[in-house]
Point group: C2
Chain length 361, copies 2
Amino acid sequence: MITIAIDAMGGDHGLEVTIPASVNVVDSHLQVKLILVGREAQIRERLDQHRCANRDRISVQSASEIVAMDDPPAFSIRKKKDSSMRVAVNLVKDGIADACVSAGNTGALMGTAKFVLGTIRGIDRPAICGILPRISGSAYVLDLGANVDVSPEILFQFGIMGSQLIESYEGRSSPTVGLLNIGVEEGKGDEAIKAAAELFKNSSLNYVGYVEADHIFMGDTDLIVCDGVLGNVALKASEGVAQFIMSVIKQEFTSSAFNKLSALVSRPTLNAVKSRLDHRRYNGATLMGLNAVVVKSHGGTDTVGFGCAIEYAVKSAGSGLVERISQRIAARMETETIRESVSAAQADRESPGVTSCSTQE
Amino acid sequence: MITIAIDAMGGDHGLEVTIPASVNVVDSHLQVKLILVGREAQIRERLDQHRCANRDRISVQSASEIVAMDDPPAFSIRKKKDSSMRVAVNLVKDGIADACVSAGNTGALMGTAKFVLGTIRGIDRPAICGILPRISGSAYVLDLGANVDVSPEILFQFGIMGSQLIESYEGRSSPTVGLLNIGVEEGKGDEAIKAAAELFKNSSLNYVGYVEADHIFMGDTDLIVCDGVLGNVALKASEGVAQFIMSVIKQEFTSSAFNKLSALVSRPTLNAVKSRLDHRRYNGATLMGLNAVVVKSHGGTDTVGFGCAIEYAVKSAGSGLVERISQRIAARMETETIRESVSAAQADRESPGVTSCSTQE
């Protein structure tokens, strides 16, 4: 049985979306328990409006406050200690829930989760990993917007975390990893990305080199690593284009009587296209690098989308993701320590005194 | 009459694309002369294979070398002085052509154009401005990949150049300008973008604030300003998604006998969709900030796309773009100089001697 804490008040639509999504999830997943966190009376009232065959697997945890979509992270952490978001994260910290899901303010969720749960030892910055669609399979992209300025070392940590997510999530070992850049040639990009490329090359990750942003959707690299700014721009640009194309299709299929007729004939096919491009199916991004699984849902999503985010949390919580990342990072720190002591010992042997260094030459 | 120099050897397909595109352009534009630059015998041989009613408006200029798609910019400038790209740019420098078009190596073209033509006085870095499609109208995005590290001042110069391009190109005054960022709220982004926002706010540009990347395709801001890395990622991500969606549509419409039939019925509508999404219609990006018009075509484009790039150069060359930018930048430099001397004079009046400053208080 996996227990997920739900920030029932979070997101643009709050209970209107979180309650029916939760009901659907417990009714379709036998091994899932949900704890709905928020204003108890309101939650119970909403729950009563839905038929739920498995109501016994839904419980309610009271929380009096709500983090607003524009609350600064520091404010929500310091001033809203009884928010639905904070209490949901606390339930994970206290071992009562295995993971939590929120459609609330991304910055506040990241800040709260980092503050309450802490990061895995050896991880400098948590990051957001999302899944984007492809003709076959999906692309994992990390970071989708949590970190503005990142060092090469942090990009490399993103590579480790993302690889572990794919291994535990897809059951595929040694996924391919690419660094998002403005060209695939060696000399492209700024100094930070070139330094990151060196770290990836000298690691045990299955690094394939630089990739360009079209590769996210048309390529075959499993994990695309980038800073949060590039990740956000790639994600938002893709959302914009997808919306634009769907609008063009709609406009053209309704532009004349004949076109409307052809839309009628093609409806099953057009619906299949729409369903495959449905971004709700990809809703739910994991906040990675924390000592527990926290999933962020898109703030404006609907019942279907929020349901996907809960399912994503169920899958992540059951996959031992945090332990895998911890082990991998610990192993790396150990190797680094051994390497450092070996080079220190070597340096000692080669030049026992600082001053003798130049006289030996 | 407008004369355009064509780098006939440039791009992935060279003469195979540049020659038929050139023939089409002179046959459909009565006020255009083209100078095809490259290996003369090959060009003439190719030209003879096409029927051209206005062959008298096409001339050939010999150039013995070709810049390879992977030649480093410095190498192409120093070692390939008789390349088709270089000679085409020289023709503009010498006033023989009004503008030039190349589908060759972007870095080499930017480097060559900057070296031969020089930048407009007061412009620190040339940049690439592209046009992207929308439901109604288009979005101009600057920079699309020329500049990796940019200062707030340079972003602001991009704003001036792009605004002038839109004014001269669309005949619309005071176009709206947005800064690409990872959120629209005031506090978002790094220090450089916040400083750039201040410059835009305190200028006469029609600045509307931060915009996110989906806004490029679904918003209504005329000009989106960003550094070359973000511009490149937004552009490439959008290309990838568009390709992905078109592949999904194709797959679904051929996945069964019934779907194939519905594709047949919907063919005119699907063709209309395809035509509106045809990226070739948006081919041709202006290298801005130079002392003349240089247009970069996508390297892998076909005859239709390269023809659009030539038409874009015709339009830009006839619009007085360079003069407009020069005037605007000169006016700004003058205002800045006046402002500086006024504040210097004020400072002098207020504190005639450095030491007296503290004694007066």
